[in-house]
Symmetry: C2
Subunit: 386 residues, 2 copies
């Protein structure tokens, strides 16, 4: 295990009926709140009304900033920053999933920046401060509700980049599993793929003898996510399955699975960011196209760990080679079984586009300092995803 | 899953060489530090010198309060409170294991209390504030380095009680696995038993279908603890095994495994507290006497979950009854294999003492509000431990 610092101060308020705590919690940090949310879904499922009435009961002034879309765009966040400055809000509450939370985080940090906000994403400027961010989670996948990261796409060059800072770590996140009851089967599946990808990209960072703590944690979370998702697709309003899924996705990417592994790179996320930036495909859907192919690409290097994973998750037997191959196949089959496309062809992305995707991803590989991922390597990974 | 709040703001600084951070971290909270530690072990293994030089480099004033013994006594903590008041320290640093940290927590809260400190332990008075507590961990088992609890024994009536408050949650804990290299085989084994007992007492709180997240987490941590302990007993200075063990014991009792399980009771700890209060046996050694017998006592109620555990940890097969029985036997055998006594008889505690232990534990059962644990029930559990 490598040296690390673990600090995750987000207060999680978990359970049925807990959205009613929103006003009281926001009031600990300010009096005028920017309410960031997406489109119509939270108005349809009643979450919007619950949040508004809780904020009003606490006597808070509310400035609404709706309209966040999935794969959120920098231009939209810039409007939010302008609105936050103009209205002088002192706290930001996100009601949504990763896209909404990441927009809220970008606004919270951007309000206090006297430079181009994109400089955070290109690591040119550090975050020196931010308005307090709180969240009400309505789509569990990104773990943004309990981590210090934000992902955003800039229209110019369709670049999907990210930044991290303790200043944007949510102070409080409210996780009410009933908020997920109306989530579609497709997005429920994408959430599972996203969380599994977070876990596996850490998992393959180390040999299996180096990190039993992190490995057993990841295997346990993956099993929880798979079992819960299978129930959710049959019974979208199964409280316990939604609750276990919600909590597992949070822990899949809140810093614990990666702590002690040294530098954890996210090559699958890197390549997917280019796919969803170019095609406006959902992030989890994009990951399902890349993850199995990337696992095959790493077969030789990771064969022992792939075999270990297959034995733990799928109870595979036999030699490392056989177990590893079976594990990749079964993971891909499982993604298909929950309704995901699992290859570029399936998703209607032509083989001829591989160089274009690789070119886009290569820019990110340089920003993220992944020198192993040259244009050629990225294209090779993508050919495994055909 | 039940509603819960999870908030664990302790900053963990983990790894080789990190004790050098002690001074810088303490200086964030004060200028004059009460240094709480035990007997000679930290002077022998060099930890004391590392801490002192780091505190001195940061320009801190140091007031030393040594002499904490295992199963720490209230009378000693009261001396620490008097010293802290007299010297007007503004921060408390514990260098040790659970006994030292819990003494430091009791002092930190006691300094600011204008009433009998034991009132915290009997739940008669809430903790309204405390000096900041930081820790350097030298024995990993209690998870006190990352939780808001403290356990203490009062000489009068030999009562071993505990209290909890966010005010005594350590602000920073430094976990350097090399600090464990000189820990004896016996205490290394007791640590494993303590952490496994923490996990299993939560584990048997719920049916196996209610809490897959918590169950997979507990199973993964137990496997990590068992595998790491086996290596440690062969190679006491195996860094990676010590590191995985240290980190796993912290997560075994820092609130995460129990979050969402509703009210988690600790009947094995309750009964053991009476044993170690009466016989001055090490806490983990006492748990090894009680845990297998308690599992047998709960056989009928927990048979499905016992079987599940046995299948996950020991790869048991067959009917629930067979797997459950095998699991209890194998857990007991494993405790014996790491050098623990696993019955009262083994430990030289005569059967005739059962009523005396039950009487002592019954006082605690009332304080902890465990109405199921009458004198008779406790005696019955203890008869399973003969």
């Amino acid at each position: 295990m490598k040296n690390f610092i673990f600090e995750n101060p987000t207060k999680i308020i978990f359970g049925r009926g807990q959205i009613s705590q929103a006003g009281k919690e926001v009031a600990r940090f300010g009096r005028k709140v920017l309410l960031v949310y997406g489109l119509e879904s939270i108005k349809k499922n009643g979450i919007y009304d619950q949040v508004i009435s809780s904020l009003q009961e606490a006597g808070l002034k509310i400035v609404e900033f709706p309209g966040v879309k999935s794969n959120p765009m920098l231009a939209h966040a810039l409007k939010g920053i302008a609105l936050a400055r103009e209205t002088q809000v002192d706290v930001v509450m996100a009601v949504g999933g990763g896209s909404v939370i990441d927009t809220a985080k970008t606004i919270a940090a951007g309000v206090q920046a006297d430079h181009d906000v994109w400089d955070f994403f290109t690591y040119k400027k550090p975050v020196l401060g931010a308005l307090p961010v709180l969240t009400v989670l309505t789509l569990a996948a990104s773990a943004s509700e309990m981590n210090p990261a934000a992902v955003m796409t800039r229209e110019e060059g369709m670049q999907k980049f990210s930044f991290r800072s303790p200043h944007i770590q949510p102070r409080v996140s409210i996780l009410d599993p009933t908020a997920l009851f109306s989530l579609s089967a497709a997005y429920s599946a994408y959430s599972a793929v996203d969380a599994i990808s977070h876990l596996l990209e850490s998992y393959f960072n180390n040999e299996e003898t180096d990190s039993p703590f992190q490995d057993r944690l990841a295997e346990g979370l993956i099993r929880t996510i798979m079992e819960s998702t299978e129930i959710i697709l049959q019974e979208p309003a199964n409280y316990n399955a939604r609750a276990n899924m919600m909590w597992a996705t949070t822990w899949a990417f809140n810093g614990l699975p990666a702590a002690g592994l040294g530098r954890v790179t996210l090559p699958v996320h890197m390549i997917e960011h280019s796919i969803s930036a170019i095609y406006d495909i959902a992030h989890g859907a994009g990951l399902a196209l890349v993850l199995p192919g990337w696992m095959r690409y790493t077969f030789e290097k990771n064969v022992r760990k792939l075999a270990w994973l297959a034995r733990e998750i799928f109870r595979s037997e036999g030699s490392d080679e056989n177990a590893a191959a079976e594990g990749i196949g079964k993971m891909k089959d499982w993604f298909a079984s929950i309704g995901c496309s699992t290859s570029l062809t399936d998703a209607g992305i032509p083989e001829n586009d591989i160089d274009k995707i690789a070119e886009n991803a290569f820019v990110l590989a340089q920003t993220w300092q992944l020198p192993d991922y040259t244009r050629d390597v990225i294209a090779e990974v993508l050919r495994h995803c055909r």
